[in-house]
C-alpha cells in the first residue's frame, strides 16, 4: 500500500469522518491542541529560561525541572494525542501542505534535543548548586529547545493559515 493510500484510508476512516463532520468535536479538539500548549510548550519554556539563566536563577535547575516534569509530560501527551486526532480528521488536506512534514521533523529534533539533554546532563544537574554558572552546553541546550519549540508552534499555526487562504 502506498503512503497516499494509507492517508486516504485514515482520512476516510470512521473516526476521521466523524471528527471532520462534527460541529463541536473538531473545534474542541483544536482548542485543546492550542490551549494545551500552555502545559507542554509553555512549561518547558520556563525550564529553558532557567537553563539560559533568565528565570529563577536563585533555584538549582533540578528544583525547577523535576517538579514541573510530570506536568509538562502530561501536557505533551495531550498535545500529541489531540494533534493526532486533528491529523486523522484532516489527513488528506494537511498532508498536501509542505509545512506539515517540516513541523513533524522539527518535533523530532526538539525531542532529540531533550533526550540528549536528559542523557548527558540529567544526573549531573541533580548535584548542581544554585548560583553556580551553568556549563555553556547546558545553556545552549536550553536555547535550542526554546527556538525549536517556538518554530514548531509557528509552523503549527501557519498550517491552517496556508490551508484556508
Amino acid at each position: 500500500m502506498s503512503l497516499a493510500e494509507v492517508i486516504t484510508l485514515i482520512n476516510d476512516s470512521k473516526l476521521g469522518t466523524a471528527l471532520r463532520e462534527s460541529i463541536y468535536m473538531y473545534p474542541i479538539v483544536e482548542g485543546i491542541h492550542l490551549v494545551g500548549l500552555a502545559f507542554s510548550v509553555g512549561l518547558i519554556l520556563f525550564v529553558d529560561l532557567r537553563l539560559i539563566g533568565i528565570f529563577l536563577r536563585q533555584l538549582p535547575v533540578n528544583q525547577v525541572l523535576k517538579p514541573l516534569r510530570p506536568w509538562l509530560l502530561a501536557g505533551f501527551t495531550v498535545t500529541f494525542l489531540s494533534g493526532l486526532l486533528l491529523f486523522i480528521a484532516d489527513a488528506e488536506k494537511v498532508t498536501k501542505i509542505w509545512l506539515f512534514p517540516v513541523k513533524l521533523a522539527l518535533i523530532v529534533l526538539a525531542g532529540l534535543n531533550a533526550a540528549w539533554f536528559e542523557y548527558r546532563w540529567g544526573k549531573r544537574l541533580q548535584t548542581e548548586v544554585a548560583s553556580a554558572a551553568l556549563p555553556a552546553a547546558v545553556r545552549l541546550a536550553g536555547l535550542a529547545s526554546l527556538l525549536l519549540w517556538s518554530t514548531v508552534v509557528a509552523a503549527g499555526r501557519m498550517i491552517p493559515y496556508l490551508a484556508y487562504k
Binding site: V41, F55, L59, P67, A154
Partner: protein, 156 residues
C-alpha cells in the same frame, strides 16, 4: 450603538491603513497572539500550580509570583497589541459574533480577578491552602476560558 462604534473603528485611519497591508502582517499578528497566549497562560499555570501546593514548591508563593509577574505582563501586552492588529481592520466581522463578545466579557472578569483575588492570594502572608486552591482554579478557569473562546470565534 456598538454597531456604529465598530463600524467607525474599521473605517478609521488606522483601520483602513491596517486593512490595506499585506497578508503577512495578519500572519505575524497571529503568531504574536499565540506567543503571548503561551507566555501568559504558562506563567499563570506555574503560579497557579504553586498556589495549589504543586510544582515549584521550593519557593514561596510570593517569591514565585514576583518572578512570573513580568512574563504575565509581557504575554498580555503581546496579546493586546497583536489582538488589536487583528481586530481593528475587521471590526464589522466580529460585531455579530456572540463568542467574540463572550471572550471579552470573560476577559474583563479575568482582569478583575487578577487585580483582586490573584493579588490577595499571592501577597498575603497566611492563606488557607483550600482558599488558595479554589482561587487558583477560578483564576486559571477564567483565563483558559478566554483562550478557548478566542479559538472558537473563528469557528462560529
Amino acid at each position: 450603538m456598538f454597531e456604529h462604534i465598530f463600524n467607525n473603528i474599521q473605517n478609521s485611519g488606522i483601520g483602513s491603513f491596517l486593512g490595506k497591508q499585506n497578508h503577512l502582517l495578519g500572519a505575524i499578528a497571529e503568531l504574536l497572539h499565540i506567543a503571548g497566549l503561551i507566555l501568559l497562560l504558562a506563567s499563570l499555570l506555574v503560579t497557579g500550580l504553586r498556589l495549589m501546593g504543586w510544582g515549584l514548591v521550593s519557593l514561596s508563593v510570593a517569591d514565585l509570583a514576583k518572578s512570573t509577574s513580568r512574563f504575565i505582563w509581557l504575554g498580555l501586552a503581546l496579546l493586546v497589541i497583536s489582538g488589536l492588529i487583528l481586530f481593528v481592520p475587521a471590526a464589522n466581522i466580529y460585531y455579530p459574533n456572540k463568542i467574540f463578545w463572550f471572550k471579552f466579557q470573560v476577559l474583563l472578569l479575568a482582569l478583575v480577578a487578577h487585580f483582586t483575588l490573584y493579588q490577595y492570594v499571592t501577597r498575603s502572608k497566611q492563606v488557607h491552602l483550600w482558599v488558595a486552591r479554589i482561587a487558583a482554579l477560578i483564576i486559571l478557569g477564567l483565563w483558559f476560558s478566554v483562550a478557548f473562546a478566542g479559538r472558537f470565534v473563528g469557528f462560529f
